[in-house]
């Protein structure tokens, strides 16, 4: 997020594979935001980062009942709680 120094947050993009985090909020809008929500990436949902693709991007996430993949570009717009906040 080099271009917006005003917004600095911990995003799904920063989470190492194998770690579980909770989503705080979305920083995207419109279709992207809607699609993320549709797939179950809603605020206060726990997410397990399963792995990165062999070329590092996209990443695979495990939600309650489904596995979902998204590009790091979009993952970077999903703010997550710091582990100690949970």
């Amino acid at each position: 997020m080099l271009h917006t120094p005003a917004v600095s947050f911990r995003s799904l993009n920063d989470i190492k594979p194998g770690c579980r985090v909770r989503i705080r909020r979305h920083h995207s809008s419109g279709a992207v935001r809607q699609r993320l929500m549709d797939l179950g990436l809603m605020p206060n949902v726990d997410v397990l980062v399963v792995r990165s693709a062999p070329l590092n991007d996209p990443i695979e996430l495990k939600l309650e009942a489904a596995n979902v993949s998204l590009r790091r570009q979009e993952a970077a717009t999903i703010e997550v709680f710091d582990n100690d906040e949970q």
């Binding site: 997020m1 271009h3 005003a6 979305h26 809008s29 179950g40 605020p43 062999p54 489904a66 993949s69």
Partner: protein
Amino acid sequence: MTNSDLLVALAGQQNAGKSTLFNVLTGARQHVANYPGVTVDKKYGVYRDASGKVTAVDLPGTYSLTSFSLEERVARDFLLIEKPDVTVNVVDASNLKRSLHLTLQLTEMGLPTVLALNMMDVVERRGTQIDRDLLSERLGVPVVATVGRKGEGREALRSAIRTASGTHAPARCSVDYGDLETDIAALEAASGAHGALADIPGRWLALKLLEDDRRAVEIVRQRLAGDAADALIADAGLRAAAFATARGIDVPDHVVACRDRAVRALLDGVFMAGTRETGSTVTERIDRFVLNRFAAPLFLVFTVFMIYQVAIVWGYELTEYTWPLLAHTREFIAGLLPDAGFLTDPYIRSMGLWLVDSANTLLNYVPIFLILFALIAMLEDSGYMARIAFILDKVLHRFGLHGQSTLPLILGGVFAGGCAVPGVMATKGIPDNRARMATIFAVPFMNCLAKVPLYTLLLGIFFVENRSLMMFYISTITVIFALLVSKLLTKTVLSGQETSPFVMELPTYHLPTVKGVVRRAVDRTWLYVKKVGTIVIAVAVVVFTLLQFPGLSDERWAHFQTEGAKAIATFETKMAGNAYADIATGSNVVGLINFSNDYKRAKLNASGASASSAVNDSFEAANPAFYALVRPPRGDADAKAASRALRSLVSTRKTLRREMKEERIRSSLLGTIGRGMEPVTQFAGFDWKINVALLSSFAARESSVATLGVLFQQDEDQNASLETRMGAETTAAGATALLAVSMILFFALYPPCLATTVMVKIQTGSYKWMMFSILFPTVLGLTVSSAVYSIGKATGASGIEAMTAVYFGSLALLIVVGLFGRRRRSAFLPTMAHRPSLRT
């Protein structure tokens, strides 16, 4: 429609098995149409139950019913405007929580709904049970358990549809939107006052207006007068803004949150035993290997190689068994058409055979496509296709494509062998519109099956020593070109297209069922035959005409007639005094020649000794007198002499006919066009013959080699292959391997064949893009070929040197573009900047 006829819509999320259940519900009778004005397929089928006819429509798979994506808009408009009697909501029972979001959106629209809990077997295998009665009671809609893949639950679903169609009470369940309810009520009252909006569910419209849904706003503007519409929309906007300020959360998020709470409440106590899923461990174990950083590329290459090996290589071997069937059909039709004349054939005959030949080249690929489509269906059904997209997305995304572009590219023929028609067809599944468009234009650069014969021909003439190196160059350079072109297009003409994020589900692995795979393979092949078939036939007629007219001049025609008469006279002189003279001469000559040619062809088609002797028997039975001349009995000196004379006559006739054909093509419309193009194509080294071959290959690629075969004709006595003839002629004309490279490059970049461009029209929905798909590659191909040929000629480079230079040049360009083409995040940030800190 009588009262007992029903219109049913199937709605559901992707991967819920909706299409499979649709097949189960409607059986074999299905039709595909397009939704008006868009490129989304509208699949519908009809079945009868005890009370009447039921028409079921398979809506596009959607996660929700917003107006963000084309599929969602199409599905929602159908529900809103067509008002189906019953909506069947197909949900993945193993993923109920997420699926019910869509269910609540459907009931909000006030539609009589049936909930089909699909994939119940997966749930049961996990040891979980779902209390369907409780769920049905809470939702206020009937709930049916189905297993689409096994065809279970059809009757229950059909009877539930019938029952639901009778109840017009809106579903009981409605989501409580908390603080937003007052705004909803106010807007519902305001919009309810307008009669023009009476057929739109009020609560739904109010909610959508508060969410600032594009399509809902459109509906209001369409139905209401300017002032009234403005007032309603402005009211909704103010209320939404006030809500966002007061609550620190904007309306769409609040709506999703409320719906999520409602879903949780609905599901409370519905699951019995083991609510945690345990069944995904198999999938996890497979993925640990298949998506492993090191194993993934190997496994992927292995899979694609196996597709190539099984479908293309073995499929090609299979066509050796199916080809005789097509050849027999041709013979049969040839027998029905009027007989051939001595010098010219009746138009009906030549046109008829031309059409049969065109159709046969196409049908010859059917076994390959059946296998290819079956393998692809297995990849899709198993869930591995989504993994391929996951692995390759990064590379493809760099060049403006999408992880899901892989399937179209494989179908198009990443390794030599494929077809752009199903490739372009398969782009339908790509959710990102810009990447989808880029893929549509990239697929035709792949090496389709029909490009291969020309490559083989040219390599056989000019690159005998470097054949495999050249083949490697050709099959990989097309991928390089495709990537570069899609990057270029994405940055230029496609930059304005809608994009959407790569957010894709990685479904649980399923074992594909035989029925499902066979059905899909047959369906797709049939679609290919139908679509391509009609176009190829139509185009064949046009090309035939362009090659026939205006025909020979009277003077040349007279010349050939004299020659023909002379040949017959010679034959009759030879036959004078022969015991068979009466049978073989006069009005019998043409019949005899045709008999002899038919016999020769039948012998060629017959495989094995018994088939061959069967041919002998049938020809002998058909005309014993002619047969004696074609196959002289032992010891019959007169028959032998007559047979010799006949053979020489047949050969003279063949030469004459070929000369006539060449002259006809040279002076034909297509030939004229080919010659007219020489001033431009000379820079690429193409003369009019090559131009004609390339022009006719636009109709169907296969014909390039056939046309070259006609143009570089051989004399009867010198039984040389096309390779040798073309080699000799072009070398004599000063052509070099450089020309071959120029031709290969042009052919690789050449516009898609007509069938593909029609598919481009279907998939893009516009003639403009279709024209673009023709013009752009033409210009690109000519530019590249001309540059390579001219520079190569000036520097005296050999063919292989030129090709190597082009290859590594474009490879370097690819790497540079790949490294610098890294998507800058700034392109994405503006959307984020809009909503900096609504809530903190």
